[in-house]
Structures are given as structure tokens and as C-alpha cells.
């Protein structure tokens, strides 16, 4: 790489200006599936951060040895290996959460953010910036997941992290949990609202 890349922008851009979920619209499928409650959303976010950071570093380390015509396969093998390890760790140390996440940890393999970052960044950058890029993008993904899960759990179940936060008197006055919030379509709508809010703040992102 001839041009000097700024570590700061590599890390912070994905958090907002170049967010993988709401700007690049990648990884939407899992964002819809695991955001009915905060706890699984956070564990999912942490898993993606771990897989993304380490696969970025590994691919970056071996980037000059990878034969170009099988590079996608090499990336997939590395990602799949890491995902299985994360899944095994969850089964051993966070069994209840891993039961809730069920197949979605395995589906990290197909998360477009991973392939996107490996192809676009790790294949052409040194390990340290690749690591920052992985953590940054993972965090960008996690932030959106947590925001979506916050609203869905609060309005859908009246709880946060499984604790009741909606006061009982509200229910006594006829308030009801919004069952629709639990279902996947509402995740899509909440994500759309976040995109809307973000684009009205960030004029650069608006389509001309």
C-alpha cells in the first residue's frame, strides 16, 4: 500500500459514516433474526466482532501467499473455522444464549460483512490495520443490533435484558406489549428508521 491509511479512520468510519449495516446495508438478515432481545443481540455482536477481527488478521497475514483463483475458498475456510470455534466456546460457556441464537452463529459464515471486509480490506492491508478494521466494522454492526434490540425488547416484551422495565400501572391503564415488535418485520422497520435518522444528520449520505 503506497498511500498511508489513517488508523483512526479505519476504526471509526464503520461506526457511523461507513456503517456496514445502515450505510452499506450488509448483514441485514442476522440483524433481523437475533434482535428480539438484547442479550442474544449483544452476544451475536461480540461473536461477529471476534470472527471478523481474527479472520481479518489471519487473511492479512497470509494475503501474499494466497493463490488468487482460490482466495474466496481460503477466506471461507478461515471464517468457517473461526465460526465453529466461537460456536463451541458459546456451547461450553454461554449455553443458554447459544440455545437462543441457535443457527445464527453458524450463519455468521454467510454474513456479507465478513466477505466484504476480507475482500476489500484484509487482502490488501497489513495485519494491524486489518485488525482495527475488523473490530470497527464488528462494532458498527453491534451498535445497530443493540439499538434495534433495545426498541424491540422494550416495546415488544416490556423488558430490558429480561428485567421488567415497563411499570405495572401502565399495564393497569390498558397498555399492552406490542406483539408485532417481536416479529422480524418490525426489525426491518426499526433498521429503516435508524437509516432515516442517520441520513438526515449525515447529509453526505443522501442520494442526490
Amino acid at each position: 500500500m503506497a498511500e498511508k491509511i489513517s488508523y483512526k479512520s479505519v476504526f471509526f468510519n464503520p461506526l457511523s459514516k461507513d456503517n456496514p449495516v445502515v450505510v452499506q446495508i450488509l448483514g441485514i438478515c442476522s440483524a433481523l433474526a437475533v434482535t428480539a432481545k438484547l442479550e442474544p443481540a449483544i452476544v451475536m455482536g461480540l461473536s461477529v466482532i471476534a470472527v471478523l477481527a481474527f479472520s481479518n488478521v489471519i487473511i492479512s497475514l497470509i494475503r501474499n501467499t494466497i493463490p488468487t483463483n482460490i482466495r474466496i475458498i481460503v477466506q471461507l475456510v478461515v471464517v468457517a473455522g473461526l465460526v465453529v470455534i466461537v460456536n463451541q466456546l458459546l456451547l461450553a460457556y454461554a449455553y443458554d444464549v447459544s440455545k437462543q441464537l441457535s443457527v445464527f452463529i453458524g450463519l455468521i459464515i454467510t454474513n456479507c460483512i465478513l466477505m466484504g471486509r476480507l475482500e476489500a480490506f484484509a487482502m490488501s492491508n497489513r495485519p494491524w490495520p486489518s485488525f482495527l478494521d475488523g473490530v470497527g466494522n464488528g462494532l458498527g454492526y453491534t451498535i445497530i443490533l443493540v439499538i434495534v434490540a433495545f426498541f424491540r425488547e422494550l416495546l415488544g416484551s416490556g423488558t430490558l435484558f429480561g428485567c421488567q422495565v415497563m411499570p405495572q400501572w401502565l399495564y393497569n391503564h390498558g397498555y399492552e406489549n406490542n406483539g408485532l415488535m417481536i416479529l422480524p418485520p418490525m426489525a426491518l422497520i426499526v433498521v429503516a428508521c435508524i437509516i432515516w435518522v442517520q441520513r438526515s444528520y449525515n447529509k453526505d449520505l443522501q442520494d442526490k
Binding site: 493463490p67 482460490i70 463451541q88 466456546l89 461450553a92 417481536i182
Partner: protein, 238 residues
């Protein structure tokens, strides 16, 4: 060295796969004991849930389970099968065995001073999207339902998934499996309807019809082979 040659590519991918494979094998072996412990604790938790018993953590679960539950395996005639451990019987496989005479039937006998003796029977069936399973606890008369626990893999949240909620499970309490001496497992029907037969029934879940039917056929299929055993319990009590 030519990195685009076929030889290089093939050797590269072989080395990569061996390295990744070895790493995975090592991780899986290293974590196996911990995972088995979790899976077992989870199963114990579910069994205890059928008798409304919810210990706070995994250590307590194992202690409670070991001290209060005795597992036996019976056959269709109601006789005890000696060389089988109830906890290790795979209920999913057994419930698919069409010939009920060949099935191994685990019974978990729970007893403590307050609640007395309860018989917990495992259940396994199909919901709409995937497997559903559960445990049903019977009073010592072998007929009255003391408690029920259901869980599922991927039923629709808010609809079929409601079977794992206590509201649904509580509906089974105090239902009878024997009606006028006849063995009729509890069934699940649409709210407001009645079953055709004389059996006890509970209301199903609105919007979760297929899952509710799955629960009904799971109860039928899994409880039917216990008939002789439960009859013995009933007769002992009379």
C-alpha cells in the same frame, strides 16, 4: 515460485484444510466435557421444570436432580428394563420407533417431602418448523397431570412458540389421563371447541394451530406406550 500454478494451489489448500481441521479437532476435544455438562444440566433443568422446581444454578440443578429423581426404563408391558439408564435414552429416536413394543420408555420418579411422588415422562414430536419436546409430570395415581413443560427448536415467536410459556403449560394441570378407566391422553383443541372423544382437553394457541396439533399428537404418541405402566400405578392406588 509460481503462486498461480496448480501444484502450488493444491498444496496450499491441503495444508490450509489440515491446519484448520487440526485446530477445530483440538478445540472440540478440549471443550467437550464442559459442553456435555451444560447439555446435561439443561436436560435436568427441563425435567425439574415439569414438577415446578427451578433451582438457581447448574450446581444446584445437578444436586437437586441427583437427590430427588430416580430414573427407570420400562418397556411397553410396564416391566423394568434392567440394562438401560433413563437419562441416556434418546427420546427422539424412541418416539419415532413405530413398533411401540420395541421402545425404551424412561420414567423419572421425583419425590420430596412436600410434593410427594411424581412420575415424569418425556415427550418428543414435531411442531410446524422443527422438533418440539417436553416432560409431563403425573401424580402418584398415574393419571392426574401435576405439571407440564414444553420446548421447541424454531416455532414462530408469539404463535407456536407460546407452548414454552407457563400460561400454556399451566392449562394441563389437573387434567386426567384415565377417564372412567379408559386410557385417553390429554389433547389440544381450538379454543372454544371440544374433542370428539371423551378425553380431557386444553385450549390450543390461536395462530399456532399446527404447533398445537403437534403437541396433541406428541402426547398421544409418547404417552400411549406407558398405558400398562400407568394402569399399574392407578390400580396400586385404588
Amino acid at each position: 515460485m509460481n503462486k498461480q500454478s496448480s501444484t502450488y494451489t493444491i498444496i496450499y489448500i491441503i495444508v490450509l484444510v489440515v491446519v484448520v481441521g487440526a485446530a477445530l479437532a483440538w478445540v472440540a476435544t478440549a471443550l467437550k466435557p464442559e459442553q456435555t455438562k451444560n447439555a446435561n444440566a439443561d436436560k435436568m433443568k427441563q425435567i425439574l421444570a415439569a414438577v415446578h422446581c427451578a433451582p438457581a444454578n447448574n450446581t444446584l440443578v445437578a444436586e437437586t436432580f441427583d437427590s430427588r429423581i430416580k430414573g427407570i426404563v420400562i418397556d411397553e408391558k410396564g416391566d423394568i428394563v434392567d440394562n438401560a439408564v433413563a437419562f441416556d435414552v434418546n427420546v427422539a429416536d424412541q418416539s419415532k420407533e413405530a413398533d411401540t413394543a420395541k421402545r425404551l420408555l424412561p420414567v423419572y420418579i421425583y419425590s420430596d417431602d412436600e410434593t410427594g411422588t411424581k412420575y415424569i415422562l418425556p415427550l418428543y414430536g414435531q411442531g410446524l418448523w422443527g422438533p418440539i419436546w417436553g416432560y409431563i409430570a403425573l401424580d402418584s395415581d398415574g393419571s392426574t397431570v401435576y405439571g407440564a413443560y414444553f420446548s421447541h427448536q424454531g416455532e414462530t415467536p408469539g404463535l407456536g412458540a407460546e407452548i414454552e410459556k407457563p400460561e400454556f403449560q399451566e392449562r394441563f394441570v389437573n387434567k386426567e389421563l384415565f377417564k372412567d378407566g379408559e386410557f385417553l391422553p390429554v389433547t389440544v383443541v381450538k379454543a372454544g371447541q371440544r374433542p370428539q372423544g371423551n378425553e380431557d382437553y386444553v385450549d390450543g394457541i390461536s395462530g399456532g394451530t399446527i404447533t398445537s396439533k403437534g403437541v396433541a399428537s406428541m402426547l398421544d404418541n409418547c404417552l400411549a406406550p406407558y398405558k400398562n405402566y400407568l394402569e399399574k400405578l392407578t390400580n396400586n392406588n385404588d
